[in-house]
Structures are given as C-alpha cells and as structure tokens.
C-alpha cells in the first residue's frame, strides 16, 4: 500500500479522474436554517479548486460516505469551497456534526455550468426554490461582478416559511442594490412576514424582463421547476433559453457508475445544468 495523500494533493483538475478525494479542512461551518448549513473548505495543500457556477463536488466524510453537493461559493474565490446543503441522509448528517478544523475529502468539480457567458447582453432571471438557491449563488456572484454585461437581473426565490430563507443577510444586501431585483416569497407565513406569500411561479408573470431576450435559470424541486418552466413559457421565453439544474443519485460524478441516468443523459456529466430544450421529452416522464 502506498500513501497517496500527497499525490492527490498535487493534482487539481486531474483529481477528477481518480476516486481518491483531495483533503480539505473545514474553515467554518454554520447553520443557515433549521435543516440547512453551510461549510467553507480550504485545501490542505493550500491550492485552488477552480469551478464554474452550477458545478458540484463530491464530498467525502471519513468512514460514512460520499455525496454530490453543489458549489455555492464565489467562482472568483477558488481558494475556498463553499457548500450549502440540507440534512437529509447519513452523509449530510455526519457532515453537519463536523467542526472547524476537521477534514473532508473533495473530488471535483464535476458537471456542466450555468450559461453565464451565453446570457451576456440579455436579461437574466434566476428562479430558485428552497435549497435550490445554493447552486444558483455562484451565478449571482458572477452576474453582480460583471453586472454591466447583462440587461435586467432578477432573482425570484420561493421557500417554505420565512424561517427557511437561505442567505437572508445577503439577500437584503442584494435587494438594496438598484441593479438587481430580488423577490422572495414563502408558501406559508408563520411570524408576521411582510413579504410575498404564495408560490414562486406567481412572481413570474409580473417580473420585469423581456421574454424574448431573457435567459432563465431555475433550480429547485422538480415539481417547482416544471411549473416554473410552464410559467416562463406562458410569458413567451423560448424553451432554448430556459435552463434547469437536475438532481439524481450519484456515486462517482464522472459518468461511470450509471446511477444518475435520466433517459440517455448522465446528470453528472451531461448536467446537472441542462437546457430545458434538451430535457423536454424526459422532464414530464414519470420515474425516468
């Protein structure tokens, strides 16, 4: 047996080819809401992990397992990997129990990116549901960084209750900018919430964008994305300009384990970001 920690530490993009994760140290771990948390990771070797908005990493917790989690940090700061996730299974539960200074393994980044380059010169609308805001945040960082390259920029974000809103301070900061329209709506009000109550799709008909010159990015539960796509189509956004981010069981992230297949697509390498156009025959099929 040969020790390979150092070997894996030396590689960056090549680390995708191996199943050996690169060791990262938890810098910060904090609770966002009752069931979500954010971790910030730095490579033990001190190096960067460059990624594109929309991509994901495979995160490994010693002795427990490995899962795909979208990257939710700033692509301009590749020396820190930020992941926001919800506690749903063994690995996320174990991850939640870790503390600053603990080690986790990282493989990635994997998958396709949001079309932030293609969207330049157009209006851009981001529609997030629940934890679906996390994979969209790197795109938001990028858009705000290069704000002049886009027309109108709009974020519509729907969540369960006001207590479930992610990144609430950041949302307030973004909202205070004059060049970024942020609307948040909740399914249920429980504590004197002054914002919108209703599902996120109801915000689409009135959002101020030019349907024919808009790129729409949506991420959230599949039900929410289906109705979001319908509402966007009703506004006249061409299906080729609508992008969705899919989620499937993944074991490798590299198109080898077969788990993430959705019809002929491998969600890990053909996705997770797809044009709706390329998925439309599969999107409404049951149990595909």
């Amino acid at each position: 047996m040969e020790k390979t920690t150092n070997i894996t530490a030396a590689v960056d993009s090549e680390s995708c080819g191996t199943m050996v994760p690169r060791p990262f140290i938890i810098e910060k771990i904090r609770k966002n809401t009752a069931d979500t948390f954010t971790i910030e990771l730095k490579a033990v070797d001190g190096g960067d992990l460059k990624f594109l908005p929309g991509q994901f990493n495979m995160l490994y917790v010693y002795g427990v397992g490995e899962i795909p989690i979208s990257i939710s940090g700033d692509p301009a700061r590749p020396n820190t990997q930020v992941h926001t996730t919800r506690v749903v299974g063994n690995v996320t539960r174990a991850l939640r129990r870790l503390e600053a200074g603990d080690t986790v393994g990282v493989r990635g980044p994997f998958g396709t990116a949001w079309p932030i380059k293609e969207a330049e010169g157009n209006d851009i609308i981001l529609i997030a549901g629940g934890i679906g805001l996390a994979p969209l945040r790197p795109a938001i960082y990028h858009i705000l960084e290069k704000r002049r390259k886009y027309g109108k920029a709009i974020l519509l974000y729907g969540t369960r209750t006001p207590a479930d809103i992610l990144y609430i301070k950041q949302l307030e900061q973004w909202r205070s900018r004059f060049d970024f329209e942020v609307d948040v709506t909740v399914d249920r009000d429980v504590e004197g919430w002054a914002g919108f109550v209703g599902v996120v799709t109801t915000l689409i008909p009135k959002a101020p964008f030019d349907p024919l010159n808009t790129i729409a990015l949506t991420c959230g539960p599949e039900v929410m994305m289906r109705f979001t796509v319908m509402a966007l189509q009703q506004r006249g956004v061409p299906t080729r300009n609508i992008y969705v981010s899919m989620e499937r069981n993944m074991k490798c992230g590299a198109g080898l384990c077969g788990h993430c297949q959705m019809g002929p697509k491998f969600v890990c390498k053909d996705g997770p970001v797809f044009t709706y156009e390329s998925l439309k025959d599969l999107f409404n099929k049951r149990e595909i």
């Binding site: 040969e2 199943m19 002929p264």
Partner: protein, 393 residues
C-alpha cells in the same frame, strides 16, 4: 521444417495434441490464464493452469430460465455456448477497493493499492464476449473521466477468442452483429474443428501481441480444406440462433413509448431481482460503500456491482426516482437497446442471451422488444398512413 513467422491476419492450425503449447506460451509470457471450466454444474470462468481444465466433452443447454450441462459425444474443448460468467468478472471485478484510510490525530490518511495488477490472458472468449469487452472499453475509457483500474487491467490483457461452432436456445448474436465469429477485438481467434479423427484449431492472428504469443506455440500453416471446415463450423452456428432481435428502428419505438402499457405487463412477471444485470457482460453500474472497523480507526472505500433493479439505486432526498418494477425494467431495457446508442454509439446488447437464461421467470428481452414493437411500432406506422391519406385528400 522452418516455422513460418505469423503475421496479422494469418491463419494457422494448432492440433489438439499441441494445444497445451498455447497455454505454456501464455504462461511463459507472464499471463494469468482465464478460461472456461466446469464448476458447480456450470461452465464458468476461472484461472486455469492447463488446457486439460477446459470443459472437454461438455456442452450447455440454455432456454429461458434454464441452464443445464450435458455430456457431448465428442471431446470438443469449446463445444458449449456461454455460462453465467463473462470477462467483466476480471476486467471489472464485482468488488474493488478504491483505497483504504487510517484515522490520524487530525483528519485521516488515504492509501491506494498500487501493487502490480495481474496480466490476464482470456482464452476461449466468445465473439459476443469480445464485443462486450469492446463496449465496456467505450464506457470506461472513452469519456472525459477514465476508469483507471479498468484501463490498466485492459491494457495488460490479451484475448484468445474461440469462435462459436454451435448456438442454442437463447443466442441471438447474429441479430446484434456480434458473432458467432469474432471479427475484431481479439489477439488470437480459434475455431475448433472436429473432423472424424482430426481435432484441431484454426487460429487467426488479430494483433502483434497475438503473433508474439504464437511464436511459442506449435502450429503449422492451415490447409484450404481446414479453413473451409472452420468457416462451415461458424456458419453452422449462425444458423442455429435460438432467437432474433429486430433492431431496425427499435430505438425510436422504445424511446417514444416510455408509457406503453406493455411495460406494465412485463412488470407483472419481473421479480426485480437484478439477475439479468449481474450476468450481463456489458452492464456497468456500480455503487460505492464504506467499510469501517468497529473502532473507526480504519476504513475502506469499495466499489461494487450494482443493479438498476434495486430500490436504492435511484434513491435521492428521501425517496427513489424509480419506485415501480415497471420503471426499473424499462430503465434496464431502454438503456440496453436505445439510450446506449445516444451515450456510446451502439446498442449495449451483444445477444449472448444470459439475461434470458438466468432470469428466474424467463423474461426474454427479444420477445419484450418484439411485443413493444408490435404494439407501439404498428400504431406509429398506422398514424403515418393516416397522415399521408390526409395529405392526398
């Protein structure tokens, strides 16, 4: 007589009595020989030390849900069809340890097994199996991310194919264009001929590596009659296919009918046991599990064959995407016969018939495909005729 130097495409003859020299030549070259042998009432792949361990005088009879060994009335070494195993057992092992880790005071350290991998020489692979290896090559080594363990094993391996001289109830390689004669992907290809008292193998050289191995083997140039007999033996097998699969237009028929009621009919019989995926020589899905000691001081990360027929396979966020048996059978068959084409350019089926043979209830992929074609393909064409009629009137 001076021994001719074998070249690519050459055809030689090895007599039965000298066949052992093939084994010694492979062993001398450092190969572990993997070949068919009789074990537990089946012909399986195992590491062999001599050609005498081959299933001499045995054959197998396969029907949907049935597999039986029978004695032949001759001493053929390769006088059978295919058993439950395939070369994927070696090139893509059922269980593979990615790495192990030790817990340290801060964090943990990862160790990868870098010991030298075996060099396999597969003797007696059927044409369908050689094609299955080529399909798995594409899956594991043609994409952006390469399965390095597979690639290393594969690069070091050598294939001595054995062309089929008979076929049985669940064979349909002719429909898939993958047999019964190996056309590509082999280093050497044998055709066994039993002609009265004569028992010999016509060997075709498929690669320089194959030619080099042949250097240590006792052979002679093939006579035209011997080549003709070998050819006829393969042709005979081609005529014995127990099944056919009509592949024309099948991809479109399947992909445009994910809601066909026929999937419900198959689901009533399917036990969702996953046998078909385990015996399939091309199925490549895996899961990864962690195995730790009780104290948690060390752990292993292990890749294992997985099956799209399990509930956990598509598990995500508190539920499985494919809850019903119907959706799982559909996933498996649609992947093999349709989606594989989009992913890798060809169908993922080589017509070996294992899934039919080893299905406990005898579900037959060729029949199911034909049934969906009959139900849905016809409707599609009727629809077209109607449209044409409209166009005329």
């Amino acid at each position: 007589m001076e021994k001719p130097k074998p070249k690519l495409g050459d055809q030689m003859v090895i007599s039965r009595s000298k066949f052992g020299t093939l084994f010694t030549s492979l062993q001398k070259a450092g190969y572990s020989i993997i070949g068919p042998t009789v074990s537990n009432e089946a012909i399986v792949y195992q590491e062999l030390s001599s050609c005498e361990e081959l299933p001499q005088g045995w054959t197998d009879r396969r029907e949907p849900g049935t597999y039986r060994l029978e004695k032949r009335d001759d001493q053929a070494l390769f006088g059978f069809n295919v058993g439950p195993h395939s070369p994927k057992k070696y090139l893509f092992p059922p269980e593979h340890v990615f790495w192990t880790a030790q817990r340290k005071e801060s964090g943990y350290e990862v160790y990868e097994d870098k010991s030298e991998l075996p060099r396999y020489a597969f003797v007696g692979l059927r044409a369908c199996e050689v094609n299955a290896v080529l399909l798995q090559d594409k899956v594991f080594t043609s994409g952006e991310h390469v399965d390095q363990h597979y690639q290393k094993l594969r690069d070091a391996s050598l294939i001595v194919a054995a062309n089929c001289t008979q076929a049985d109830g669940t064979c349909f390689c002719v429909s898939m264009g993958t047999g019964p004669k190996a056309e590509k992907g082999f280093d050497l290809a044998l055709t066994e001929v039993l002609d009265g008292e004569q028992h010999y193998f016509v060997v075709e050289v498929g690669s320089k590596r194959g030619a080099a191995v042949l250097g240590g083997v006792s052979f002679r140039r093939a006579k035209p009659k011997e080549l003709k007999l070998a050819e006829e033996a393969c042709d005979r097998a081609a005529g014995q296919m127990g099944r056919t699969l009509e592949t024309d237009g099948l991809k479109d028929i399947l992909q445009s009918n994910p809601d066909s009621v026929h999937w419900d009919k198959v689901a009533k019989r399917c036990l969702s046991c996953g046998n078909c995926t385990m015996v399939c020589p091309t199925c490549f899905c895996t899961t990864v599990v962690d195995r730790t000691d009780l104290k948690g001081t060390s752990c292993e990360r292990i890749r294992r064959w997985d099956s799209c027929f399990t509930n956990e396979f598509s598990y995500i966020n508190g539920g499985s995407v494919r809850q019903s048996t119907k959706s799982r059978y559909r996933q498996w068959m649609m992947h093999k016969l349709a989606n594989w084409i989009d992913q890798f350019g060809t169908m993922g089926c080589v017509g070996c018939g294992r899934c039919i043979t080893w299905c406990p209830v005898g579900i037959d992929i060729t029949q199911e495909a034909a049934a969906i074609r009959e139900r849905e393909g016809d409707q599609a064409s009727i629809g077209k005729v109607k449209e044409d009629e409209h166009a005329v009137t």
